[in-house]
Every structure is written in C-alpha cells, then in structure tokens.
Symmetry: C2
DNA sequence: CTTGACCTTGCCATCATTGGAAGGCCTATC
DNA sequence: GATAGGCCTTCCAATGATGGCAAGGTCAAG
C-alpha cells in the first residue's frame, strides 16, 4: 500500500503521514525500489489510532504516550485512564473559559440595540478594560 | 510614556505592542530623539481595547474591524452587534465540539477499570476508528 | 511513447505569542 | 567622566498542526 492509499484508509492526509514520520511519532515506513513509502495494515491501524486520538483533541505529544501504551502489552490500564482523565480536564478547562467569553459577549450583545445609532455598550466595554462589565452591563441589568 | 509603561498600563506586552504596530493593527507610535516609542493615554486605551477583545477570543482580524468601528463616530451599533454575534456563534461551535470530545472520552474512561491489567477499552476504541464508540462503549453500556 | 495520476523532497504560510541575541540609550552612583 | 543596570531598539527563530505549491521522478493505461 502506498502513501495515498494509506491516507484514504486511515483518514490521515499523506502530508501528515510524512510529517509524523519526520517528527518520529511513527517509525519510518519501508520503501519500494523507486523510493515510494509502503504501508502494511498494521501501520494503517496505527495511523487510524493517531487520527482518532487527534479527533479527541489529544496533542501529538500525548499521542506519543498513548501509542507507547498501545504497543506495550504489559501496560497498566491505569496509565491510559490517567491520560484520558487529564485530557478530559484540559477540555473542561477550555470549555469553561470559552463559555465565560461567550456569556460575557451575550450580556454585551443583549445590551446593544443593534440599530443605526452609534451608541454601543459593546464598544464602551471593550474600551474600558477587563472589569468594565461590572461597571456597565451588570449594573445596567441589575445582576 | 515609553513602551514598557504602556505595556503595564494596558496589559499588552511590549513585544506584542511592537508586533501589532508591525502588522498595521495600530498606527506607528511617535518616537523620542533616541528612537524610543512614545504612547499617549489615547493609545494606551486603544491597547486596552485590543487586550480586552483578545480576552473575549476575537481573532486579530476581527479586532481590526472592531477598532475601525470604535474610531468611527458615525458607526451603526448593528455592525458591532453583528461581529459580537458571529464571535458568539464561533465560540458556541467550538464549545459543542469540545463537549463532544469530552463526553466521548468520559464514556471511554468510565469503561476502563484503571488498574494494573493491560485490558483497556480506551486503547481498543482508539485503534478501531471513528465509529468504534458505537461498537464498544455504547453497546457495552446499553445506550 | 505520451499522458495523467501519483510519488518524492523542500520551502513557505498560517496565528498569536514568546524568546533570544546584539547593540544603543538613560539614569544613578562612584 | 566612567561604569553598571535596566530599559529600549531591530532582527531572527520557534512554537503546533496543517495546507499549499513547485520541481522533478515513477507508474500504469492507452
């Protein structure tokens, strides 16, 4: 199987397969006489593993650890679970952060008429620094 | 006010102030005879505007539009509100995406004993492709 | 033998930010 | 006046994961 077929079969682009090889995430593939990379089913499965891990938001650094555990038949499932838990916590942190951004923006947008007049509490808030929501929107809405 | 003081007053690092100037997001600052950048209160307020917008997740490209509206006294608040709404929608999309990742991982982690044995549904799932959660975790939990 | 689809390497771009190196300026102290 | 240190300047590089492009080699079908 050449790189294009492996890409289709795994869902990882040919570009990224070469990149993963260059960074050492995956071992160097075998080559034909003409220099084409050759992939076995096992290697395609490894690529799918990577693809799925990326889809779950794991950074490549963590995928390296996951792959090592995947290959290690004497692994402890606790180690895998710990990596998953860390990833869950990281995702949760980001979700909370973005939720906070969203809510702040929603308060501001609600306070903005959105008509042809120039007066805009969103711009006022942006111009007044990080605590301005307390000074404007919240008091304005009695929260 | 020189760049270090402006950085402290605005919360934008000196490094980033120079960067924003180089990309044209902010106009070039005045200079002393020795070539030091000089900032007025108005410019510091603009930097705070940028900082606050970044904190709300706006990409620099959108901040450019926001700044233009901020400076335009004949702006329509509808334009500002539209930018805010777009940002809210973008945040919401990312939140949903990360929530889905988190939930998938949580299902997998719940199914993993997390002990010293090597058997691990997380690794099985990662090795089996994007729909494997249906094949394993969900049926395993009868969902 | 040509054509087109595929492969190779290598370099550039993204986006926002940080870091470092090499050198100039300013202020205070000796 | 010399010197130390802290600030400033510019330029260059790297981050992480990915896409894109270009120049050239290879393979398979016609």
């Amino acid at each position: 199987m050449n790189i294009g077929e492996a890409a289709k079969a795994s869902g990882v682009s040919a570009k990224m397969i070469r990149y993963y090889e260059s960074t050492g995430l995956i071992p160097a593939a075998g080559r034909t006489g003409a220099g084409y990379r050759v992939y076995s089913d096992t290697e395609v499965q490894m690529l799918r593993f990577i693809r799925r891990s990326r889809d779950l938001g794991f950074p490549v650094e963590k995928i390296e650890e996951l792959l090592a555990l995947w290959r290690d038949r004497s692994r402890h499932s606790a180690d895998v679970k710990r990596l998953a838990q860390e990833q869950i916590e990281g995702l949760q942190r980001k979700i909370i952060e973005m939720q906070a951004m969203k809510e702040t923006l929603q308060h501001l947008a609600e306070a903005c008429c959105g008509d042809m007049r120039p007066d805009c509490p969103i711009l006022i808030d942006l111009g007044c620094g990080p605590n301005s929501i307390k000074d404007h929107t919240l008091t304005r809405f009695g929260q």
